[in-house]
């Protein structure tokens, strides 16, 4: 009987008022309290997860979208800290967002921000440790990304738009995207998150590092993606930002 109760309670909350008939007279006003609390908790968690999306569409639009999303993608863990991973892709198919093509990209970057925010603490790689390496060491060592390093690439300037939407500045008047490939890099070498736009070469370099390739192979990947890439300046910039945690000797 108890097994049936839990399922029937959820069925009742989902709208089948008669499902709880063995345990209470129906309809019951109290059911709507549970229904509302659950919907609000899901929506609140999603709204908190996507502050940049909220800056574009406003809290009411996002709360309505979040409620619709939660109905098809409910949370699956007792902690809502990372709830919303499926929201960016779902937004691509959400009819009211059809003319806001940049919205899923902004949502994806908000998720990466949260991942960087919650990632394990680690000391960034000391640039001095790299400075003393002989040139041939780049073929035998891999650069290990810092636990908080996150990045994503786009075919347009979504990263610059995301940056322009960050407080405390006023949001831009128009949300125009240029057809220029661009990436956004999040780093958190200490407790504060920093972000910077990066080009296709730096993106390919970081992706190769994430895949465990040697530093030399990562450099080659960067050059392949962006032939006129200034490799040493790019590497120095990533190193100084705290994107790496360690140098690993390859077997």
């Amino acid at each position: 009987m108890r097994e049936a109760f839990h399922d029937r309670f959820l069925a009742a909350v989902a709208g089948d008022d008669a499902a709880l008939a063995p345990w209470c007279e129906t309809p019951q006003a109290g059911l709507s309290v549970y229904r509302n609390t659950m919907a609000k908790a899901c929506a609140d968690a999603l709204v908190a997860q996507f502050p940049t999306v909220e800056r574009v569409v406003g809290p009411a639009w996002l709360a309505a979208a979040a409620t619709a999303h939660a109905a098809v993608s409910p949370p699956r863990q007792g902690s809502l800290l990372t709830y919303g991973a499926a929201f960016p892709d779902w937004l691509r198919r959400f009819p009211p967002a059809a003319n806001l093509a940049f919205l899923p990209g902004l949502a994806q970057l908000d998720l990466l921000w949260t991942e960087a925010h919650l990632a394990a603490d680690a000391a960034p790689l000391d640039p001095e440790a790299v400075a003393g390496l002989p040139p041939d060491a780049f073929g035998t060592h891999a650069l290990v990304l810092h636990s908080a390093t996150r990045f994503a690439g786009f075919d347009d300037t979504t990263p610059r738009l995301w940056q322009a939407l960050q407080p405390p500045g006023e949001p831009p008047d128009a949300f125009e995207l240029e057809p220029e490939p661009q990436g956004l890099l999040f780093v958190r070498p200490g407790l504060d998150i920093a972000h910077q736009t990066i080009g296709p070469g730096a993106l390919a370099f970081l992706a190769a590092c994430r895949d465990g390739d040697s530093a030399a192979a990562a450099a080659a990947a960067g050059l392949a993606a962006e032939p006129c890439l200034d490799l040493s300046a790019t590497f120095a910039r990533l190193l100084a930002a705290g994107a790496f945690a360690a140098l690993r000797t390859l077997p």
């Binding site: 309290v33 409910p74 699956r76 007792g78 902690s79």
Partner: protein
């Protein structure tokens, strides 16, 4: 020496700096572990810093002990890591469920208090205490639905659960007030029946009438100051059982830290007076 914890406050990110700086006598903080189940980052750094200075209580909302299934082992493991990290003075959860077949319904849901339910929930509390390696407290939920099919009253059920598992009780006086109002029983009689030796913590919070149903249905909102009838019930409870660590619980419409601290001081004064008489 750390002074004995008296009245505490819910720990909120917007109050981290003030919480860390506050020197009030007997002050402690309670956090929802679900908000700190991260690998690292600034939230955990703040919690660590505050835990170095002040007693911390971890009050779970997502373990779903009254589910008809075992608690999620990943969730328990994350809770264990947090308990080991901050060494809380108290760890608590609810007599409610929220997880069913891999889906989390973020609320504290009711169930018929049957003998079978008691067995299942006792197993779940046993598992929680075994993993954490410590005693936990179980809180009475706010109730909104008059169910039939109970074999036990709520106090009777909680008492049996405590006797069976060795857990203690967290008495949420606002939940008692709200549930008694909504389901039509005596809050005083409920509180008078709670065995003093089992009560390890007390919660006080604000409530509000349901926006659509009006005053017939009170909602445990945690979004307002503690109401006077709840303060009266609280005074009655500690007058009978003695002082217990007491939390001013606030999760919504969060006021300035000073406002919460003033409410906390009221509970602190009542507790201190109680200790002097004891």
């Amino acid at each position: 020496m750390t002074p004995q914890p008296t009245a505490g406050l819910s720990l909120k990110p917007q109050h981290y700096a003030e919480a860390l700086a506050c020197r009030s006598d007997g002050l402690w903080f309670e956090a929802h572990p679900e908000n700190y189940m991260a690998a690292g980052g600034p939230r955990l750094a703040w919690l660590d810093a505050i835990a170095r200075d002040r007693p911390i209580s971890l009050h779970g909302v997502g373990l779903s002990l009254a589910a008809d299934e075992a608690p999620d082992e990943d969730h328990l493991a994350a809770l264990k890591r947090l308990v080991d990290r901050v060494q809380p003075i108290l760890v608590s959860e609810h007599l409610a469920w929220s997880m069913r077949r891999g889906v989390y319904a973020p609320d504290l849901l009711p169930f018929p208090r049957t003998a079978a339910a008691l067995g299942r929930i006792a197993d779940n509390v046993d598992r929680m205490q075994a993993v954490l390696g410590r005693r936990v407290l179980i809180e009475n939920p706010a109730l909104y639905l008059p169910l039939t099919g109970h074999d036990f009253g709520e106090v009777e059920f909680l008492t049996a659960l405590a006797r069976r598992t060795g857990c203690g009780l967290l008495v949420d006086v606002n939940n008692v007030h709200v549930s008694a109002h909504n389901l039509g029983y005596s809050a005083e009689a409920y509180l008078d029946a709670a065995p003093a030796e089992l009560v390890g913590e007390i919660h006080l919070a604000g409530h509000a009438p349901d926006e659509r149903l009006g005053a017939t249905m009170l909602i445990d909102t945690h979004g307002a100051a503690v109401a006077e009838p709840v303060w009266a019930l609280y005074a009655r409870l500690i007058g009978r059982i003695g002082a217990r660590p007491t939390l001013i619980e606030r999760d919504d419409a969060i006021p300035a830290f000073a406002g919460l601290l003033a409410e906390r001081d009221r509970a602190h004064d009542l507790l201190t007076r109680e200790r002097e008489y004891a």
